[in-house]
């Protein structure tokens, strides 16, 4: 399609748009389909962005932390904890090492045992929170030294469960983007159907226009502009409703976890504004292809 043709198709003129009769059900179908698809796209986008944030957070927060667990007879816990802290402070790559207080350990267990837990009544191991610096430490070497000097210490660098969590979040993000692609494809298919129906219903109009000297680009342009505008309006209504729905979702909280963090954040609120433009582009391409095909068939 040449630049001039594209300009004619996109802008045309008011007279040109009148030559194609208004078509009832195809107009409603296009508006509804683009509105519904834009609504779904908003949620798919929100899911994708939230999953991305979660994956990034888990990856960065957990990657630089580890937990040292001291499981020892009650009278040796304090000594082994002190020994472990000494070793950790001497280990290159360890930025910070801190033994959790009884209160902090009780808080960790509160979701399962409830508040007011008396740790003295339970054989709970002592936990040490380890934070590594930029260079990181040699986990294998640290484990060897701990096994020699602090027999009750077990180092957990979170790798075992961090990796599947980050993978799960990344999968969710990919799923969101795939959903958006599928939504775009479904929208293109529906608009193609509507455009084909409108073109078929107007076969006689097309014949008359050709007889009086209309170029195919002129005829196609009249249909393309109409469907593109409808898709733009439908998508705009769809994202307005979708953003309203996202606003009504509960705000992000630690208690709610992932399910309460599904909204947009900061500049992320601008992403849905692209949906009507994408919807209109999809409608433009789908109607243009349908019109060219139909006009060739009618030749």
């Amino acid at each position: 399609m040449s630049g001039g043709t594209l300009r004619n198709v996109l802008f045309g003129d008011a007279q040109a748009d009148r030559v194609v009769p208004p078509s009832g059900f195809t107009a409603r179908l296009t508006l509804f389909a683009s509105g519904a698809m834009a609504f779904l796209a908003v949620f798919a986008l929100a899911l994708s962005l939230a999953s991305g944030r979660l994956a990034d957070r888990w990856a960065s927060e957990l990657a630089r932390s580890a937990t040292l667990r001291i499981t020892a007879p009650e009278d040796q816990v304090a000594a082994q904890t002190a020994a472990a802290l000494t070793i950790l402070r001497q280990t290159p790559g360890v930025d910070r090492a801190r033994a959790l207080s009884a209160g902090e350990q009780a808080a960790l267990l509160a979701p399962w045992f409830g508040p007011g837990l008396d740790l003295a009544a339970l054989p709970v191991p002592q936990l040490i929170e380890v934070t590594e610096d930029e260079q990181g430490y040699d986990a294998a070497g640290l484990r060897l030294r701990l096994s020699a000097e602090v027999p009750g210490a077990v180092l957990d660098d979170h790798t075992r469960w961090r990796k599947p969590l980050v993978e799960a979040a990344n999968s969710l993000r990919r799923l969101g983007w795939i959903s958006i692609l599928l939504i775009g494809g479904a929208m293109a298919a529906m608009i193609s159907l509507a455009a084909n129906a409108a073109l078929a219903a107007n076969a006689q109009v097309i014949e008359v226009l050709r007889l009086v000297g209309a170029r195919d680009s002129y005829i196609a342009g009249a249909f393309v502009r109409r469907f593109t505008l409808r898709a733009l309006i439908g998508s705009a209504v769809g994202i307005a409703l979708g953003l309203g729905g996202v606003l009504l979702l509960p705000a992000a909280s630690d208690e709610g976890g992932f399910l309460t963090g599904l909204g947009f954040r900061g500049l992320g609120w601008l992403w849905p504004l692209l949906i009507p433009l994408l919807g209109a582009s999809v409608a433009f391409a789908a109607t243009w292809a349908a019109a060219r095909r139909r006009l060739t068939e009618l030749s």
Binding site: D13, Q15, A16, R18, V19, P21, P22, Q204, V205, E207, V208, L209, R210, L211, V212, G213, A214, R215, D216, S217, Y218, L295, S299
Partner: protein, 225 residues
């Protein structure tokens, strides 16, 4: 201007036209006659590129139409005004817009063309019916409107397919007068008609050549016409 050179046209396994050769010279006036189904409409359609000959060549304005793409065909149709027997209007548009349709699709500035449109509607006597929708028009009004639409771009050639087929004698004469006026303005006119009385009446107003299709071939009509 338009030339058919040894043209043949077959449809559905049967040959409808065979070895047709004719030249429509600039400013000439032709009638095309013959019985119903003889191929008059087919020959007209070959002249404006709505059909492609199965043999031979059609040349319009010195160009072989076999090499035309769809854009070139659209340009050709702006130089050939066609009046169809069934008129073919867009029913959702008022009459004035239907007549102006060739101007609209060729991207003319309608504000500048409004005087031209008014003058043309006056010429065919339809000024009062400018806002009427095509289904509200009588047969004669539809034919006059179709003629106005055919000539609004001031084409070099006017082809009319049974323009008096659905109107009474008085209206037939009025339409004939309009077509003769166009010819006197220098337009080439070809009218397909089986109405011999109309052809005889025309010969008293204009020097017309009468062609007849018989047995798939085109020939000059005899002295009876």
């Amino acid at each position: 201007m338009i030339e058919l050179d040894d043209v043949g046209y077959s449809y559905g396994g049967g040959e409808l036209l065979s070895n047709v050769s004719v030249k429509l010279a600039p400013g000439s006036f032709h009638f095309l006659t013959g019985p119903s189904g003889a191929g008059k409409t087919t020959l007209l359609k070959l002249c404006y590129g709505a059909l492609t000959p199965t043999s031979g060549a059609v040349r319009a304005f010195d160009a072989d139409m076999r090499g035309f793409d769809r854009d070139q065909m659209a340009m050709l149709r702006r130089r050939i005004g066609v009046v169809h027997q069934d008129c073919r209007f867009l029913d959702h548009l008022p009459l004035a817009d239907n007549i102006a349709l060739p101007l609209i699709v060729s991207g003319r500035d309608m504000a500048q063309e409004s005087a031209n449109l008014r003058e043309l509607m006056t010429w065919v006597g339809l000024t009062e019916r400018a806002d009427a929708r095509p289904p509200e028009l009588s047969g004669g009004e539809r034919q006059r409107a179709a003629l106005a639409r055919a000539v609004i771009l001031s084409p070099d050639v006017v082809l009319a397919d049974e323009p008096t087929g659905n109107v009474d004698w008085e209206m037939s004469m009025r339409l004939l007068t309009l077509l003769v006026e166009l010819n006197k303005m220098g337009k080439t006119v070809l009218i397909a008609s089986h109405d011999l009385a109309l052809i005889r009446a025309a010969k008293s107003q204009v020097q017309a050549r009468v062609l007849r299709i018989a047995n798939r071939r085109l020939q000059l009509a005899g002295a009876d016409l």
